[in-house]
Amino acid sequence: MSGGLLRLVWRNLWRNPRRTMIAMTAIGLGYAMLLFVACLMAGLRQQMIESGTGLLLSEIEVHAPDYYPDRPLQRTLGGRDGTDVDALVAAITADPRVQAASPRVYGGGLVSATHQSAGVQILGVVPDVEQTITVLQTRMVKGSYLNGGMPKGIIMGDKLATMIGVEVGSEIVLLTPAADGSTGNDLYTVAGTFHTGLDAMDRTLVVMPLASLQELLRLPPGRIHEIGIKLHDIDEASATVVAFEVQLSETFPVRVRPWQELAPELADYVQFNHRVTFILFFIFFLSAAMGIVSTLLMAIIERTRELGLLMSLGMRPGQVVGLIVAESACLAAVSLVLGGALGAPLLWYLQVHGLNLGGEGDDSVSLGGIVVGPLWYGRPDWAAYTQAAVGLAVTALASALFPALRAARFRPAEALRKV
């Protein structure tokens, strides 16, 4: 596009500054709002995922190849095939994307108090390390989370405690099939109870120190079932899994899974949410098209004489179309910049301060597996920002076609006569 035409386009836009300003503001504001929503929703998704994976699952889990989902006791990392678990954990933690990695052991059996027994899933963790990847410690209702001081201390779901009639300080027996075929059993003390809001966890989960569980299960220290991983950026989950599967498999036989595979229902909902947001994009494009078409049509009608003049001076219909379309493109471009400028502080505020929707379950922040507090933080979603911009540009060009074609059909002689 020649410089001259560009200058013409620009001048044309500003010939009626108010009209142009209004159109630009409208589209710009629309874009800013889109950015706002995209950012907010990205933040929301992040919070949901972190919340859903932060209690028991983790963002990525590493297992022996045939371990998940049936969880046979014997399919451990380490032990049978000589895998050095410490080296594995070190290799994982060394990756810059990883925030922390926590080893875990699982057992299943009975918990028994004086009169009642119940079937439970038993999880063994290293408390200090586990707290860096999950947040169960924030859900304690009575007593305290595991700490190094009590090797025979366990914590359990509050509903479980009610079911078997125990409290903090009560003594219980854990009974579980051990790795050597015997029945592991021992006495433990209830150090605390937690409430997650997830019935399955509150009714059937017991958590205890990893070493104690290994002892109960007659598993040697070098054998664990799972390594839970938390990343700095959860969006990296899938990519990290792929990388790990390639990289780790060279030395250790493992299978790596992202949270999407471990919690497909959560992944479903997040995807669903994401898609619904796109409906919004669609609406934005339509309203923008609405605005552009009406603006341009008005402009054409107003500039009938001018266009007639141009055409009688030799401008070809094709060039007229080009001119109008270029004006539209220019309008869109400036609006985008304007929208971006307007939106940037909004986005900054969202990401740093968050949006307080106070009243949305504020005193029930600790309920439910997904806890998203009344404060929503935003997260940049460059993909969405770009898609919106591109979509808008396309819409602008497309909407300009109708008015442009109308203009191209002016007959110079008639046009000149218009008042």
Binding site: M48, G52, R71, L73, Q74, G108, G109, L110, S112, H115, Q116, S117, A118, G119, V120, Q121, V173, L175, T176, P177, A179, D180, G181, S182, T183, N185, D186, L187, L198, D199, A200, R203, T204, A263, E265, L266, D268, Y269, G368, G369, I370
Partner: protein, 297 residues
């Protein structure tokens, strides 16, 4: 997000299954009914049948009569086998050796049974588990753990799957039901195998029998009607497990196989073996034997 719904109807049942499948200690109940009377009766009947057959040859077709007799005999033989180690009450000393892919174990225990509802097991070996006792009365069960010095309640269903981690189920060892109650019995072979005269019976489940097997095939020695092996098939005709009998001894005037080996047919390396050191049938056992207080002794 779809949280784990249906809390109401999903307690930790799935986890119980894990425990059951892996093996919680279970109670072994074996009632044994005396077969001596039956044996006497049977040989009488045999004589009678023999006479009847000879006479019948005169005016009934040989095939018809002998077929009926053979079927009747087949049913009796099969029922007899399933009652060999079962009686009103019994006290036994048993060794069980379990070989699994990941571990091996030998347990030595004492068993008391009363009908098929009450079972008491006390473990003697290995040392670390000595004193562990399991009691089952009806649908309830308890286990006493010496190390923790505690008695724990257990759901009885846990024992109906793998018993003590072995390949046997409680039903294998205790069930009083006659095979003929649930299965239709046909003789599929009669003759010599490896120089021994045997009968082979094929059992197919009756229409509403609550059994999982598609069919059971068993081989029984003709001479003393001792079982040699039993093979369990699923509905597609695939053999799933095989129980072999050996080391036949006469104990308390009863001839029984004292060595039972159960092999899963999809895992070549695994098997469980039960060896009876001693067994006494129908000595009186009081009901108080099967009480919680007895568990701890």
């Amino acid at each position: 997000m779809k949280p784990n719904i249906l809390y109401n109807s999903v307690p930790a049942v799935g986890l119980l299954a894990m425990l059951a499948a892996e093996g919680a200690k279970a109670i072994y109940a074996a009632s044994v009914r005396t077969i001596e009377g039956k044996a006497a009766c049977f040989s009488m009947r045999r004589k009678k049948a023999g006479v009847a057959i000879c006479l019948g040859l005169a005016w009934l077709s040989l095939a018809q009569v002998s077929q009926a007799a053979v079927d009747q005999r087949a049913q009796e033989n099969v029922d007899r086998v399933s009652r060999l180690l079962v009686s009103q009450s019994s006290i036994a000393t048993v060794d069980m050796q379990i070989t699994k892919v990941d571990w091996q174990r030998t347990i030595s225990m004492q068993l008391w049974t009363l009908r098929d509802t009450n079972v008491l097991v006390r473990i003697r070996q290995p040392q670390e588990d000595a004193g562990t006792a399991i009691l089952k009365v009806g649908a309830k069960a308890w286990i006493y753990l010496p190390k923790a010095n505690r008695t724990v309640t257990m759901p009885a269903s846990m024992m109906t799957t793998s018993w003590m981690g072995s390949h046997f189920t409680l039903d294998d060892l205790v069930s009083q039901s006659r095979l003929s109650d649930n299965y239709a019995i046909a003789t599929s072979f009669a003759g010599q195998r490896d120089g021994v005269a045997v009968f082979e019976y094929t059992l197919t489940p009756k229409s509403s029998a609550a059994v999982v097997w598609g069919k059971i095939v068993m081989e029984v020695r003709e001479s003393d009607l001792m079982p040699v092996w039993q093979r369990y098939y699923d509905e597609d005709g695939k053999p799933v497990r095989e129980l072999s009998f050996s080391e036949y001894k006469t104990i308390n005037r009863r001839l029984i196989p004292t060595r039972l080996v159960m092999r899963p047919l999809d895992q070549a390396a695994e098997q469980s073996t039960i060896t009876y050191e001693s067994i006494a049938f129908d000595t009186p056992i009081g009901a108080e034997m099967f009480s919680l207080s007895k568990l701890k002794q």
